[in-house]
């Protein structure tokens, strides 16, 4: 009977050690995971702040540039049509000037004013 009790108490103390070790391991793993997650969150927070600043500084300039282009778009389109028509009737101009920009007579159609 005493042997049984001794054996049983030895097993219980072994179990205690195992449980304690597992609890410690779980705690350390949770801690490590929290540190890794905090590092990733910090990096993402920093990136969002830097990119947000870049967006705020570049947005007005880009809007202004796009506004300029949209204002000039009808003029540019008319110029393109007129210069293409001129190049169709003046081959030398078409080859020497517009040829540099990939213009060919076959791509343009004459526009009737």
């Amino acid at each position: 009977m005493n042997d049984l009790e001794t054996h049983s108490s030895e097993r219980n103390s072994d179990l205690e050690l195992v449980v304690e070790s597992l609890q410690r391991q779980v705690f350390l793993l949770l801690l490590a995971l929290i540190i890794v997650a905090a590092t990733v969150v910090f990096y993402l927070c920093y990136q969002s702040r830097v990119l947000g600043n870049d967006l705020e500084t570049s947005r007005p300039r880009v809007k202004e540039l796009i506004g300029n282009y949209q204002r000039e778009a009808p003029t540019i389109k008319k110029f393109d049509q007129d210069i293409s028509n001129y190049a169709l009737t003046h081959r030398d101009f078409g080859q020497r000037v517009l040829g540099k920009y990939g213009w060919t007579p076959g791509t343009a159609k004459p526009q009737n004013h």
Partner: protein
Amino acid sequence: MLLCAGLPSPEDPKKRVDNRRQSAKFTPTMKSEALNGILTVVLGALLVLGVFFALKVVFITHELRTLQSQANFANTALLQTQAVINDSRAYYNAHPDADLGRILQPFQPKPATR
């Protein structure tokens, strides 16, 4: 006789798993569970924050790329048109033509006002 003495009998289902006299001492599990619970909550909060910031970075990057491509397109169009105007003006100076002059008229440089 054993039953009369109050000792646990192996046949008694109640007493078979009752080891009151041989209870093992464990470290305070309640304290450990509470600590693990707190750490789990902190980890959950960090995960939510991580997802939030990751989505924010994705959207900002997308907007930046869109603006950049629009700016590149507008800039390229304006620069190319200006280059064609400059080359056309140079050709006009070498070979004056009324039609070409009429086309380039809107793009003549304006004289500086004093």
